[in-house]
């Protein structure tokens, strides 16, 4: 029996259960809405989660789980700013293992163990790739904070003499500009 074929046949059921597991990490009233509303602009979280997970399951079923779909990437970025601990933000990746096993239980016994290992390896790799994405998002947040400080928008509560600070900043920028141009 070909596990990839079994996965592909069941991919929509698997994706839906996976989505349910992800949405269970939100308050039930929020989760209900995220699942129901289909419009991608009225419900960006639900849309990105659903579409991202469906595409990911399809890719894994085809043995091609090295590329993370853009919707799932966006969803990981959102998880990175949603007050979860890093482990809790990403734990849902491992949810896929028991879900696949449960959905494909009937066929499971007939599948060669190496095929299972391949699927499991894809999921483990996915966890590592998602970890990279999560960390990149966290680093980006700090860059965004730094850039905002630098832009002057955060100057209101910077303390000290704001008038002097603005002049110093402007002079520094002029100098920087001059150096760049002279080069």
């Amino acid at each position: 029996m070909d596990l990839n074929k079994v996965l592909d046949e069941n991919r929509l059921v698997i994706a839906e259960k996976w989505l349910d597991a992800v949405l269970a990490t939100y308050h039930k009233d929020g989760a209900r809405f995220f699942k129901k509303q289909q419009d991608q602009f009225a419900n960006p979280l639900g849309y990105n989660a659903r579409t991202g997970l469906e595409k990911m399951v399809k890719a894994i079923a085809q043995g091609d789980g090295q590329e993370i779909p853009p919707e799932l990437k966006q969803f990981i970025k959102l998880r990175a700013v949603q007050q979860f601990t890093p482990a809790r933000a990403l734990a849902f990746i491992y949810d896929l293992k028991p879900i696949i096993l449960a959905v494909c239980a009937k066929e499971a016994g007939e599948v060669d163990v190496n095929q299972w290992l391949k699927v499991e390896t894809q999921i483990d790799n996915l966890a590592l790739m998602v970890f990279d994405l999560y960390m990149a998002a966290r680093e980006l947040i700090y860059k965004v904070k730094y850039d905002e400080l630098k832009s002057g928008n955060a100057g209101v509560v910077a303390g000290g003499c704001p008038s002097g600070a603005v002049i110093r900043k402007h002079n520094a920028e002029k100098m920087e500009l001059k150096v760049i141009r002279d080069c």
Binding site: Y26, P44, Q74, Q83
Partner: protein
């Protein structure tokens, strides 16, 4: 064996909702307590600021100044704090009929529930507008309705407790008063005004945030958020004029505090000192120079923004009044306002009865086209986009939109100008003439249904950056769509808070998209008499399409 593994894994992954969002779904909302932790709340105002503002206002409005820690369970509230809040609520129910109606008329239809960007980005039910209002309604019912007094919780009533106060501080500072929800409410309940009342009541016991009150204190003292003194304002604009001369070859010398000028120009001070607002300011300067406008800047009315409107109506009135006092002192005929959001909400919706009508001024009339802006008959203040659109309509501007060909632009309707004053066509009309490549975001994310930047009403502070990013998700998601589909690389808007906060939002969600004001794009396109033969860069020294210009900034 496979099943056993499934069971193990099923337990090991963190599915227990109580571990996740600090909410426990099985509990009733009244039983869920707000948990403050770094990153989900704004820092309280400094004692010195509260003390200063308290002295500027009628007694009691600002509450007792003190150091307090949001994360602790002792906010050092006055002993009679509950009484202060309930009395404050009673006074406001008597004073503001809208509040009374909003407290009574909701039928829980749920139309608003999924319209809030904070809800869409967090999934927290207390961010549903109906629930945000319920935080106050529950107390209202308990104190002021018979059913609530008798039936208590069965009638959705609860007494004022510290837990309720924490809810208020959490969720009235997770609302940007954007009013998207009110567009969908069949009764027109304005959650923004409920939030405003919530914040007013919190101020009575000095539960507030520094990012709102320090700018207010600065504006009150020196005229602008940063507390910039007159010489610095003037110097900053001079710096911008130097850049303009370098880019266009045009030398501009604007006037300051000039008595007898026809027009007083007021814009958010961020346009004078912060990126990308300064480029927009260069756009204003070029436009006024082009027209030969008889106008003046003021170092005293040097702030269009009114952070008072994010705290209490007394402060809003005070800051709004300063603009008009300066207009009267200088003897101008009318006021031209720059690209700002809440300044216009205050002017358009509250100023007429709060400070005005400004009968000592004249109804704004464009000296170039002769158009009389009757819509500003009471406030005597016209929006730069109305003014510019009128100029274009009368063929008074020579524009070369190809100078913006390096930009593929979309337009973000700012909440306050779109929903607060109904301005949706003018900026689009300007863009059509100043830019060649424009693409709208999806219909349910623009115009009156526009999604907020996620950081308005004084929530544009760094300590809640993650919160801002999740609240801004719906806006960013729509930008991402036009970025991917049409190659949009520029998000234009007519609000200073937007210019600042969307820059951060794009930095996180859609890197590669820059934020501009509309006037910056006008400034780029405007063909000035006597300008350099070839303009090599835009106003931010960026290379123009097809140019090999030096884009080193």
């Amino acid at each position: 064996m496979a099943d056993m593994k499934a069971d193990e894994l099923g337990v090991s992954v963190a599915r227990d909702p109580s571990m996740m969002t600090h909410a426990v779904p099985t509990k009733d909302w009244m039983d869920i307590e707000a948990v403050f932790k770094p990153g989900n709340y704004c820092y309280p105002a400094k004692t010195s600021i509260v003390d200063y503002l308290g002295k500027e206002l009628p007694p009691g409005v600002m509450g007792p100044a003190r150091d307090w820690d949001v994360e602790s369970d002792d906010w050092k509230l006055p002993d009679n704090w509950k009484e202060i809040i309930i009395d404050g609520l009673k006074q406001r129910l008597d004073k503001f009929r809208s509040l009374k109606i909003f407290m009574d008329c909701c039928v829980r239809c749920g139309a608003c529930a999924d319209k809030c960007h904070f809800f869409l980005g967090t999934g927290d039910p207390k961010n549903m507008p109906v629930m945000r209002a319920e935080l106050m309604r529950s107390v209202y019912r308990h104190e002021f309705t018979k059913a609530g007094k008798i039936l208590g919780r069965m009638a959705g009533a609860r007494p004022m407790t510290f837990k309720v106060l924490k809810d208020w501080f959490m969720y009235y500072y997770q609302c940007t008063e954007c009013r998207r929800c009110s567009v969908f409410c069949p009764y027109g309940i304005d959650t923004a005004e409920i939030t405003m009342m919530g914040r007013e009541l919190l101020h009575l016991v000095a539960v507030n945030i520094n990012w709102v009150l320090e700018p207010v204190a600065n504006s009150n003292r020196t005229g602008n958020h940063m507390g910039l003194q007159p010489h610095t304002l003037k110097e900053n604009v001079e710096y911008l004029c130097e850049d303009i001369e370098e880019i266009t070859g045009i030398k501009i010398t604007p006037s300051w505090n000039r008595k007898g000028a026809e027009i007083l120009f007021i814009t958010p001070s961020a346009d004078l000192f912060a990126e990308p607002g300064i480029y927009n300011c260069m756009g204003y300067l070029l436009l006024f120079e082009y027209l030969g406008l008889d106008y003046t800047w003021s170092t005293y009315a040097s702030e269009g923004g009114n952070f008072g409107s994010f705290s209490t109506n007394e402060l809003m009135k005070k800051l709004n009044g300063k603009m008009y006092a300066e207009a009267e002192r200088l003897g101008v005929k009318w006021i031209l306002g720059g690209e700002c959001g809440h300044m216009w909400r205050v002017v358009h919706q509250y100023m007429g009865t709060m400070t005005g009508p400004a009968d000592f001024l004249e109804v704004p009339k464009s000296p170039i086209t002769g158009t009389v802006f009757d819509n500003a008959a009471s406030t005597k203040m016209t929006h730069i986009s109305e003014f510019t659109a009128d100029l274009i309509r009368h063929g008074k501007l020579k524009l070369d939109p190809s100078r913006n060909d390096h930009r593929t632009v979309t337009f973000h309707d700012s909440c306050n100008t779109a929903r607060g004053m109904g301005m949706m066509e003018e900026p689009r009309y300007i863009l059509k003439h100043a830019v060649n490549k424009i693409h709208e975001m999806p219909e349910n994310t623009i115009r009156e249904k526009t999604f907020c930047c996620g950081s308005g009403t004084g929530l544009n502070t760094g300590e809640i950056m993650e919160l801002r990013m999740r609240a801004g998700l719906p806006r960013a998601n729509a930008v991402q769509y036009v970025h991917d589909k049409y190659g949009v690389n520029t998000l234009s808007c007519i609000c200073a808070i937007d210019r600042a906060t969307l820059t951060a939002l794009m930095g996180y969600w859609v890197p590669g998209v820059e934020v501009t004001g509309v006037s910056e794009l006008v400034g780029n396109a405007l063909i000035m008499d006597g300008e350099k033969e070839v303009r090599e860069t835009g106003l931010r020294f960026e290379a123009l399409a097809g140019s090999e210009g030096d884009a080193n900034v």
